[in-house]
Amino acid sequence: MAQAESSTARNGIKANANGAAPGYELPWVEKYRPVYLDDIVGNTETIERLKIIAKDGNMPHVIISGMPGIGKTTSILCLARQLLGDAYKEAVLELNASDERGIDVVRNRIKGFAQKKVTLPPGRQKIVILDEADSMTGGAQQALRRTMEIYSATTRFAFACNQSNKIIEPLQSRCAILRYARLTDAQVVMRLQQIVKAENVECSEDGLAALVFSAEGDMRQAINNLQSTYSGFGFVSGDNVFKVVDSPHPVKVQAMIKMCGEQKIDQALDVLQELWDLGYSCHDIITTMFKVTKSIPSLSEHAKLEFIKEIGFTHMRILEGVQTFLQLSGCVARLCKINMDPKVFSLPKHDLI
């Protein structure tokens, strides 16, 4: 099965290499998946190291961890391909979460593969690629430990995972741990522009900016959004992108929160109204507000927590079914109130009495 899988991967690459196969549109993500390490964007330092490995051979065991869509699997595949060339097919065992990877598979298939003799040039070893390794069970990982050591002369392991803490410590101890950082906006933009050029996509500056913004450093998502926007509207503009992405524009929400912090309630409500008129649901707006508040730089941590408290309560109310504009407005008003002098709100009682 692994062979089948790797071969499909290769097909994809072929299509990639040949440019678009006529009449058959691949997802751009696959079509433009890098084939060589040189094509990989971002994490330059780490990639440089991988390139050296690819050149010199003798790959250590590696764990690559990081957010989705930043090139973990791609780098491993590229590395394997560059290391092994034509022997890729028989010297690579690739297993991902869609394969069964219980302890039995580790004990039988992986171990069996590790014991298999494949003639390779010196400095090259068979490679076992375990994608999404954080979904492997503890037992299966345990079973890998000695296997990794005993057959290290002929087999090397590469893990890709989102959370390295799901990999048991003994395995981490055996591996070079490469942490991939989120891609910077510039890196994503660069790649997007290449694709835009290759596909002759009409796009505007703010369209790209919107793509980058919505992707939050996830290259895969950026490319997918690019493709959907293009096939849906034919033109990539900021508005079109957000229509595709379909979430309240975080920049606007951020501005709104900021205004709340500065007690500019009227402007904040205007922004809210604007968002509301765009047709976003209460739920979307409040979730975005929550996310944005958590990482807004202009507020102190204490202020953030207070804001989140209010937003959280509003979130609960909305979930309870009160999905009205009034709730959101109330929330915004309360956010403004947090930073205001409480005295302003006290009634001038003494006059009455």
């Binding site: 580790v106 010196p122 345990q142 430990r145 050591e149 290290s152 101890s173 741990i177 953030k304 609960m316």
Partner: protein, 1063 residues
């Protein structure tokens, strides 16, 4: 004691880390070893004498003989003569081992002869003195110290050297702070054990050590005396008899040699003292503004308490964090200087400060000593440290002073004496590294030759390209002395393996010196990456065993362990009989050892494997070595008592460093020592990972500076999921909320998601245990209390809010999208208020779980009661609880309590009128709170018995069938055939219960419930069947035997009843 002797002591410390031990038994290599010893000992030199303050020593030593002789005199009387015997025998070995050292190292030789006599007497007596005064509660510390003790048994000569410093430290501990803080003490002592670990000679003394541990100090000493003469003699003689080579090899002669070697640095140091600092440096040093240390607080009962609180300072957060810019200085400008941090600094937190010093080549120690160059003083410094500072007249500077120092001092510390010393040390280290590298190369060539041969016979693929191996494989230890740390454990392992055939012959009845003789298997446990598997394989190889390995990649279920191992357990290795072309048959290889790796990795699919393996351990005929990470897991329980335990600990940085330096050197990597330290610390002494790091670093760089190293170890930090305890400690006591902290809100939320089911419960359990940071700036105690209260109130409020959120998540709505909100509400926000030092607070596991289940149980009771009362009352559950129950308690429970037997009738009538059952009566009792607390209710046994009897005799009205009882139609159908039986059983159940009630009233309710429930309802059924009471008498006979089957029967009864009703 004169200064020269102390410096002599200073030289002695056996601090020789593991690495130094014996070379592969070649004389030519002595020199090398020597070098190592030299180096490592310097570290110790610096830390050791710290404890010995000249002033104190005089003060203390004089009184001690007088004051303590009472207890020790007899002991001395006995011990001295005996002691001297081994001494006599020992010098021979000493001499023999010392000679080679003389040959190689002329400089030290001169001093070898003279010292022994003097220190011996000195040291010995003083150490003896130290023992008796130890209070009993200190005994636990003895296990740290026992290593030392055993040393002295082994070799008095050497013990003499040992004692001096140790004695001092004890002394210091004892009289400096009577209300010793265990932690501090332990920390203080730690140095000793490590040192002793490294070079102690655990031949036959281990048993004694154990004895020593268990017994009070005095008996211990006496007993040891009695024992150790033979022991030490035998050990020495035995060793002597064994081939000379052997002697050299396991004798770790290093302590002795080390001693000789160590003297040299000491001497050099004194010489160097004459080298004055250059004027320039002096000027700089003088220009550093020193501050006056506040005088230590008076010593009284209070001080101990005070200490506890300030103990948390290490994590306390500077008030003006980040306000000052960190200075940039010349490289290594602090070289050779030793710093101690105490108190809370103005703008640095302590780790930052320490890192700063380390970055510039300085050394940071935990406690001030006379070797400390500077004490960096902050507010709230520990009183003990202040005292030491005063005693030694140490220079104290504040944070600004430190910054000054860094800015002004020239690179490599200029030409000050400290830096000269440092340089010398560096040189020595470099030299040693080079020697080791050379040796490694030599060996590699040798192995390479063998490998070439091997590859000729097609044995190893690795031989084809030398660099195609992983570094971890390439630089795996090939000799015992290359294993970093855990020397004693490795030694024990080797000894056990060596003695295995002998023990086998004697049937594993003789424990032997360290008690390992009765075991057929050992279990090695410790964290990953510290060489457990390596050690096991290496020892097996060196002892001439052929290894059969099984690890987690093999299936090890019960069946397979039983059948699969059978083939191994009583066989011998073919290697003893046959060999490949042109190779010699190694007879010794006939022996097999079974290494079971990753025993804790036996998981799914290995069902019963652990048990089976433990069983195998009991009767195996070949030695078995088990290896695991977590020995304390419940599933490892079966190995208790079947295996000999060998814990492996993380080696110290010093133990690893030279090995890593050697590797780096061999690979042409230029990495300064402090960077290596940072790497090692960053990986928490995981040797394998450090080697991996080096190999990765080597790819694109040939040197590494401090920041790169830090960065790398940070990147490589192993992420593991935190346990609830750690989570709560980290969020509240970890300084995450300090203004200087760089952790974002997302990081904190992430903590919650480490264990989102427990983290907030744990926080709730422990949130009162902190000293809130936000209130710490307030000095007026009253105001501070008020502020604390306010903070706690806010936290509590937030936790309550969190519960509201939780209800929506875990309630009927299942709004999981609220999880982040819940994280903030129930975890991050409360922590933001009360975060602060957790010193003195023991993290408690959440009690919510238990409470919750109790609540559930009580709730069920109320429901039941309300259900029964429903015909007569209109209240809901809460009303019943709040309005009816107190009155019912008064009328039922209290009545019985007050009136005794007389009230029984009335009580039962009342109960019947409300359709309450006996169950409900108990429930009412349990539900009482306040003055009605069931603990305060005292019913006479007689009353109880009468009540039960009467109750059972009567028939009671039944309001209705509970739905739950009627539900069972399916089962009913199944059981229809044995109606009779069911009813009968129910009767029995009833009787049984009665008896039980008489005997123990406060049986737990759940059990009763099963039995009683049926009763109430059954009664009618029984009547219908016309069997009820008549049966009881009969049943009574069989009650005993029936008792344990109660629960089951109860159920059956219930069913029967239900059926009865229907009928």
């Amino acid at each position: 004691m004169p200064a020269d002797i102390r410096s002599f002591f200073g030289g002695k410390p056996a601090g020789t880390p593991a690495k130094k031990d014996e070379p592969p038994a070649k004389k030519s290599q002595k020199g090398r070893k020597r070098a190592i010893v030299d180096d490592s000992d310097e570290d110790v030199v610096e830390t050791k004498p710290k404890k010995t303050t000249p002033r104190k020593k005089q003060a203390q030593r004089e009184p001690s003989p007088v004051g303590e002789t009472t207890t020790t005199s007899e002991f001395f009387g006995k011990s001295k003569p005996k002691r001297s015997e081994p001494v006599k025998s020992k010098p021979a070995t000493n001499g023999s081992t010392a000679t080679p050292s003389k040959k190689t190292n002329g400089t030290t030789a001169s001093s070898t002869k003279t010292p022994p006599s003097k220190p011996r007497t000195n040291g010995r007596t003083s150490s003896r003195k130290k023992n008796p005064p130890k209070p009993a509660d200190e005994i636990e510390d003895d296990d740290h110290a026992f290593d030392d003790e055993d040393l002295e048994d082994d070799d008095v000569f050497e013990a003499g050297f040992k004692k001096g410093p140790r004695h001092d430290s004890y002394k210091k501990d004892l009289d400096e702070d009577e209300p010793l803080l265990p932690q501090q003490r332990r920390a203080g002592r730690k140095q000793k054990p490590t040192k002793a670990d490294d070079d102690f000679e655990p031949e036959d003394e281990d048993v004694e050590m154990e004895d020593v541990e268990e017994e009070a100090v005095k008996p211990k000493a006496l007993e040891r005396n009695a024992k150790d003469k033979p022991a030490s003699e035998s050990s020495s003689t035995k060793k002597r008899k064994s081939p000379e080579l052997d002697d050299e090899e396991d004798d770790y002669a290093s302590p002795k040699k080390g001693k000789a070697a160590k003297r040299s640095p000491a001497k050099k140091k004194t010489k160097k003292d004459e080298v004055q600092d250059s004027a320039e440096v002096q000027a700089i040093l003088a220009s550093i503004p020193t501050i006056r240390a506040p005088s230590p607080p008076p010593k009284d009962g209070q001080s101990a308490k005070f200490n506890w609180r300030t103990a948390g300072n290490a994590t306390a957060v500077p008030s003006a964090a980040g306000s000052k810019e960190k200075p940039v200085g010349a490289e290594n400008c602090l070289a050779g200087l030793t710093f101690v941090f105490t108190g809370v600094l103005d703008s640095l937190d302590r780790t930052e400060g320490q890192e700063l010093v380390k970055r510039y080549g300085g050394k940071v120690t935990g406690a001030p000593s006379k070797n400390t160059s500077y004490v960096v003083l902050g507010s709230d410094a520990g009183p003990k440290k202040l005292e030491t500072i005063k005693a030694h007249g140490l220079k104290t500077i504040n944070e600004d002073g430190l910054f000054e120092l860094i800015r002004k001092l020239p690179a490599n510390g200029g030409d000050s004496k400290a830096s000269a010393k440092f340089e010398e040390k560096q040189q020595k280290e470099a030299q040693k590294v080079e020697e080791m590298a050379a040796e490694m190369e030599k060996e590699e060539r040798r192995v390479g030759g063998a490998g070439g041969k091997a590859s000729a016979s097609g044995k190893t693929a690795a031989a084809s390209g030398p660099d195609s191996r992983l570094w971890t494989a390439k630089y795996a230890p090939t000799a015992l002395n290359q294993i970093c740390g855990n020397k004693p454990a490795v030694e024990k392992l080797a000894r056990w393996l060596r003695n295995f055939p002998k023990n086998q012959r004697t049937g594993f009845v003789m424990g032997g010196a360290d008690g390992s003789g009765i075991y057929r298997a050992v279990i090695i446990h410790g964290p990953p990456g510290i060489g457990k598997t390596t050690a096991a394989h290496l020892v097996a190889e060196l002892e001439g065993y052929d290894v059969v390995e099984s690890n987690a990649s093999d299936t090890r279920s019960k069946k397979l362990v039983e059948t699969g191992l059978r083939g191994v357990l009583s066989t011998t290795s073919l290697l003893g009989y046959f060999a490949a072309d042109g190779e010699k048959v190694e007879e010794s290889k006939r022996k097999l050892v079974l290494i079971m790796d990753e025993v804790d990795g036996m998981s799914a699919g290995d069902r019963g494997g652990v048990g089976a393996l433990a069983a195998v351990c009991k009767k195996t005929q070949i030695p078995m070595i088990l290896i695991c990470n977590e020995r304390r897991l419940p599933k490892m329980k079966p190995f208790d008592h079947v295996t000999y335990e060998l814990p492996f600990r993380r080696p110290t940085t010093d133990q690893i460093r030279s090995r890593i330096m050697t590797i780096a050197h061999r690979e042409g990597l230029n990495i300064p020592g402090n960077v290596i330290n940072a790497l090692i610390e960053g990986s928490r002494a995981d040797i394998r990972q450090v080697v991996n790091m080096l190999s990765t670093a080597k790819l694109d760089q040939s040197n590494m500076d401090f920041d790169q190293g830090k960065q790398m170890s940070k990147n490589w930090e192993k992420h593991v999921i935190l346990k609830p305890w750690d989570i709560v400690t980290k969020i509240m006591g970890g300084g995450l909320f300090a203004p200087a902290s760089k952790s974002t809100l997302n990081d904190k939320t992430e903590l919650y998601f480490n264990d989102h089911e427990f983290s907030y419960l744990m926080l709730q359990e422990n949130y009162l245990g902190t000293t809130p940071m936000l209130a710490s700036s307030i000095h007026d105690p009253k105001e501070r209390k008020l502020k604390n209260l306010e903070l706690v109130e806010k936290a509590a409020e937030s936790i309550s809010d969190g519960d509201l959120v939780d209800r929506m998540i875990h309630g009927s709505q299942q709004q999981w999208s609220l999880m982040p909100t819940h994280a903030i509400f129930s975890f991050v926000r409360p922590a933001s208020f009360i975060a602060g030092s957790m010193a003195g607070h023991q993290t408690v596991f959440t009690s919510w779980l238990g409470r919750n289940s109790t609540q559930g149980k009580l709730m069920r009771m109320i429901k039941e009661i309300q259900g029964h009362m429903r015909l007569k009352t209109s209240g809901d559950r809460h009303e019943v609880r709040q309005q009816y129950l107190p009155i019912l308690w008064e009328q039922l429970v209290n009545k019985l309590q007050e009136e005794g037997k007389e009230g029984v009738d009335e009580v039962i009538d009342l109960m019947d009128s409300y359709f309450l059952t006996k169950d409900d009566f108990d429930a009412i009792m349990e539900l009482g709170i306040g003055p009605m607390d069931s603990k305060d209710v005292k019913l006479e046994t007689q009353t109880k018995a009468a009540f039960t009897r009467l109750y059972n005799q009567r028939s009671h009205p039944l309001p209705f069938m509970k739905a739950s009882n009627v539900i069972a139609p399916k089962k009913q159908a199944k059981e229809r055939p044995d109606i009779e039986e069911a009813i009968e059983e129910s009767d029995e159940g009833e009787v049984v219960e009665e008896v039980k009630d008489d005997e123990d009233e406060d049986v737990d309710v759940t059990k009763d419930k099963y039995i009683k429930q049926p009763k109430k309802k059954k009664e009618p059924a029984a009547q219908k069947g016309g069997k009820g009471k008549g049966k009881k008498a009969k049943a009574e006979v069989g009650e005993d035997s029936e008792e344990d089957e109660k629960p089951k029967k109860g159920k059956a009864v219930a069913k029967g009843k239900g059926r009865g009703k229907k009928a």
